[in-house]
Symmetry: C7
Subunit: 291 residues, 7 copies
């Protein structure tokens, strides 16, 4: 049987040359067609659906790789090695899966990036807050976005963190409500304090008159009665509302002082009995109270 | 053997042209049939089952992609490249799986969106609370929902966060119970304080008489006895119950003052022995106690 | 070779018509049989095993989809496109898997819903506590359950949250134990205080005599000796045990006052040496101590 | 070619009837054999290995389903639709996987239930503590266990929570050590206090003499020296050791008072200088100290 | 065509009997060979590599199941139902996977158990600390280990918790360092206090002289200067080092008292101005200062 | 039949030799071609796309392994053992998957490393902050990066931790904002304090004049009014802004002292009634106030 | 047909003997070749790439198992049971996957161990800190590493915990910065205190002069001004820097005392009005102030 199989081998080797030629020809033809037809077509479809440049160049790479795989597969089949494709598909699939698992956090960022670029839940320049961070969006890339904090630090954020968490935009609407709790003494007149606070809010030009500023009794705390003031600021994305808030708080504080409404320190109500051993020096002059 | 295989190759190339024609024809026919029959049919079934426009346009894209895949598969089979399909199905499946894993958080939002749009656990305009956020639903999209906080901030929430967490709607029913703890002194008469609180609740027009307001002794705290008042407000989605609560708390506080029921500061019971070194100035005039 | 392949193509096209007829016939027959036999049979088996309507209508949809798939598969095989089924099964399986992963949190709710409806760990009307929430079950659906809090808020809970967490029912049994810690002074007689507390528990008609109320010394705290009272209430699901508890606490507090057993404020034992600079005004009249 | 294919179709239809008969016969035979032989055999093997009724009835359902699948598979093969089985196996496998993933938390409970019923890490009536919950086991089911808290509440616990967490049984052994820290003053004699505590432990009949009670200096705290007493109680599952502990603590407290060993309040060591403005009323009578 | 197919059926049925015989014979032969050769061989290999009895009996069950599967597979192939095996392998694989996922936490315990029994990171009798628990290992099983706390409670720990967390053995070496912080006053001499502490450590027979005890200034706290003493104890697994530590702390405390080195209470440095309204009773007798 | 099968076996063995020769030849040829053509080509493509040396040497190893697999697969097919490839592909895929899962955290670091080296979200020498750590990047490797803390400690960070978390670069821009809250007394003039703080910021040469320093009232705290100063520093990556900040804070503190603006200690507002038992020693000499 | 099939069976049985012989021969040959060629080759390649003994012995086991599988597969194919391999590959793959999932935490430790042994991010003897633990590496194994704490306890750490977390080596460089905050009074001269601290750092021989020690004002705390001293220590891995730090802190503390710079206790600024009921005993002798 050995000569037979050698014969067969020679025949096989001869056939192999033809197979290699067929392989190369099939590969080149299919690959060229795919690159010239498939990739530009996919690109155009994406452009028509409004995907921007960044997403489309990613799609080009992906479809390029698919074209390569297709060309290889057709070439192997034409050359008669169809069963290798099946095996490689299985093994390749498993490897792709294993790698995909390992890289899933990273890949998720790209998928999230495509959706952020397409759906625009926020855009460059928006003020966003997520988890415990906040800042203005500076740049949206496929994998990461860059956010500039109000302290001018740069945060590089993976896109999945922005797509899979609740993201807050405090200045998306044309007005914004602010709240501040003032604590007055238990002996003060609540209605008086409320009218004083509303009065100061009304006299502040940066605070809206409609919806009107408002005061609520929200707390009977250990040492004070908590009055929560609520006021509205228009066009918050432009106005520096931290400044408005600062001015309002200062004005109310000075007004409460002027009206002799107390803003008490933490109280301690003392009781019980203490022994004291006192050494007393009497001085007839009035003491200096210069502290 | 080489001429043979060249012959075969020529024959193969000739066959290839026929195969390409068969491929193109089969592809076009199956694809047209699928687009014209399958997609509208699926759309109609979904419409009959009450899915709204957003879900149906998603379904159109999905079924369109399936039609494309089906047409490709039939075309390849007709052209005699059946084994390529099997290999691509394996590899494509693995890639779809890997991508699906990477994108699972994002895809989960679409699935959640379909259920939210179909089952309507909440609708646009509802007041919802979830995790530590709350606001009114402004817009429900397939991937995200938008919620407007009571401070007029915009929160973009991935739908999965709303579908897989307990979501609370505080004003789903026609009345709502509110609770507030008043702390009175250890020396005050508990029954007196209770009747005063119930009295004020009854005299508040915004608080319901039936179910009647109620007071419970819930705490013997460090410095006070805690009385928890419970009262009901009707039609909470319309009424501003934060205002009702504020008025009630202010009224009870003023009434307790009038009845000389103490709302004590934190007590410290002193004991022990302290040495003092005192410098004393005697003044016969009565001191000014204007603080 | 081209004319040959064209001939083949024509023959193929002719055969295709027969195949399409075979496809349609096979599909219709198998699908009808499956819908008429399989689905009602499954439904009846489920009904016999005690699954309720909600679960059975879900099962109908699932078996309907399976019937469709079966009919498609048989039809493709009869029409001679068996290899397409294999490929589609692979790809479809991968897609189903990917989608199933993405939707696993949502699907888990349906599976949990089936078990809750079948096993009834709790039923509509039960008082349940889970994680940090509690309320009465209002409605059990396949995906979510609705719970009404005691403040009359509505919570929509995904069923998986209820099936995979420990769920507590405080009133499942015919009596319930309550605990409350009273803090007495370090100088008070512990046995006296204990007998006073037990006495008050016995004289409360809502507290059971058997098992008897009981008091334990559980803490030697900073400023008080902690006595934990334990008492039983019968038929807790009907009785308002928050009221019983409130009455008991108030009664014990008033009794301890009457017996001059101290419930001390937080103590501070002072030591050290302080310098004081005193300005003293002597007044021969007795001071007003009206505070 | 059409008539040909019609002829073929007719032939096919004729053959189909035979195939259907073969399908039904094969299904019934295989299914009966499997139900009559396989299922009882598996049940007996499980019974011999000590699995209880609950597990065996689950196994019956599982093996019944397997018998159904086997019968279907053999029937399809006999009827010549072998390739459909392959496709359905792939797709069915994927669906099973997807559903299995979605339901993995629920299924895990059943697996855990089998191990709890087989290995008996705890049994009905045992006192167990896990996570932050505790109680007596009332009932162990396949999916959940029910635990009755010492306050007579019912907790329904998924079995996986009990099988995959450390579970503590405080009364598994015939004696149990208890610890309690007594805080004495910095000026007290430590050895005296230690002997007093050990003395009281020895004179308590419920505390074991061997191993002997013991006292350790464990803390030099802000305001006290911490003495940790350690004592042993025999037969803890029957004895009410909360009562023993309460009696011991009360006895030691009263003894320390009798021996004038201080149990100090939190100290504050004062320093610094305070200005005081005093209004003094002199009274020759001794003041009432009735507070 | 019907008679033909009936004929075929009869032929098939006849062939079926032969197939069943072949099936049974092949099953029995392969299974016996596997049980008699494969299982004992695997058992011996494991024994030679040092796996103990518990692991080997698990391996026996696993290899027994594999033998059953092998026998079934060969029998089906011999009987000509090879395609059923492929389908069942696919479906069975998917089911195994789904079940494996659901049970992964439980299975992980068995795998961890094998490694713990083989590698012996700790053995029965060792003192281990992991997460926030500690105790002596009492028993190591395949799925769980049992640990007895120093209070004589029993903890049942899943093995994965012990294999995948850092586990600390405080007494693995022949000596152990202990630390204790003594807080002295800001006015005390630090060097004096250090020498006193080292002195007491040296005079304690249970504390090693080499490595020498040592004292470090580690804190300038609010009210004290923190001196951290460090000392070594030999043979910690036998010695009761909690007792050594207690004795050392007591000795140092008494020595610091004797040397009049202060261990201060929390200080408060007072400032500010207080108004007092004093009612003074003068007593010429010296007051009793018996507190 | 035995002689026949023996004959077949001999024929088979003879054929095996030829097969082995074919196997070795095919393996060597394919492997050499792949190593000589495929690997250098891939390397050049990566170099053209800007991947650096570290990534390319990883790619070389990966493509080398692929070449080996390809050569093995072709060799097995040529030798007629195609079905073994399929089986090994399946099993190998599953093993790769299982190993890939187990190693997914480790592999993720490599994937992250490739992206960090390619996209350069930060480079060697950058100051980065992530989670709760910070330092200067010292070295970026494929699996880990090394960061040197400002205390000169070395942190080895897995790359996935840097690629999948938000990473902050505080000095990415040419200026940086700093904030510091000064607390002044409730009795002080807020405007005066604000002007003092702005004045000190302007007179500090390291603080930018444009954007101008700014002061906001942000808190009405228990014992102080919080003024938040905000100032900008240019070229933060070079300037030692901790020093600028220190100088600014010291200057403002000394200026506030000079302007007699109070920076108050925590207040306690005392009330209530204390019994004192005083032992008084009168001394006519003025007391020594040497503390 | 029965005799026919019996005949076939006999023929089959006869063939089976030949098949079994072929099976055994093929198994032995392939296995020997693989063990003699493949395993030593892989071992040598690993040794050339610098993997140490531990990793190579793991690789030997893995390649040995692969050789066994290969031999089995070839033997089954030679014996004509190729389809069994496919089925077992599928099922075996699924089982491997399921087991791999269950054991993924354990396997991850081995993979991590290979990387730690190859890349040496730390070596035996290094001081490492990770999560909240620290100590010196004592031993690096494939699955776990052992770390000896500075208190001489042994921690067994799974390698994945060390490979997938940031690991800090505080003494990797030739110098280390230490920080300590001293709190001085609000009335003290900040510049004076700064020069005193720098002076003490310079006079300490263990503190480096270059980089120079430095002091920053970092806090205006409630009761003190925080001065953060920063100083460098050379050769930290050898020097006992806890001792250097202790000496420096003690020296600065004593120097600040000598310079009468205050290190204040927590302040309380008192205000308000207290009623006192004083019983005064006058003593003409000076009181004993011996406390």
């Amino acid at each position: 049987p050995i000569p037979d199989s050698l014969n067969e081998l020679l025949a096989q080797y001869g056939g192999l040359v033809g197979k290699v030629v067929a392989f190369v020809l099939a590969f080149v033809v299919v690959w060229l067609v795919a690159r010239v037809v498939l990739v530009p077509l996919a690109n155009r479809v994406l452009r028509e659906r409004g995907y921007d440049e960044t997403v489309r160049s990613l799609a080009d790479s992906v479809f390029g790789a698919l074209a390569l795989l297709l060309a290889l597969a057709v070439a192997f089949t034409v050359a008669g090695f169809g069963s290798i494709i099946a095996a490689f598909a299985t093994l390749g699939g498993a490897l792709a899966l294993a790698l995909g698992f390992a890289a899933q956090d990273l890949l998720a960022n790209f998928v999230a990036g495509v959706f952020i670029l397409k759906d625009k839940p926020f855009e460059v320049g928006d003020w966003i807050e997520w988890n415990d961070m906040s800042g203005r969006v500076e740049d949206i890339d496929l994998r990461v976005s860059r956010v500039k904090t109000f302290d001018n630090e740069q945060i590089t954020v993976p896109n999945a963190e922005l797509a899979n968490n609740a993201v807050k935009n405090p200045v998306a609407y044309d007005r914004l409500r602010q709240k501040f709790v003032f604590g007055i003494g238990y002996d003060d007149d609540i209605d008086h304090a409320k009218s004083v606070i509303v009065d100061e809010a009304r006299s502040n030009p940066d605070i809206m008159d409609d919806p009107a500023p408002d005061v609520r009794v929200t707390e009977l705390a250990d040492s004070y009665v908590g009055l929560q003031s609520r006021f509205w600021i228009s066009d918050p994305s432009r106005a520096d509302f931290a400044r408005v808030r600062s001015n309002f708080v200062q004005a109310v504080k000075e007004r409460l002082d002027a009206e002799t409404i107390d803003m008490p320190y933490p109280y301690r109500q003392l009781t019980g009995a203490v022994e004291t051993t006192a050494t007393v020096t009497e001085s007839s002059a009035s003491p200096a109270t210069d502290d």
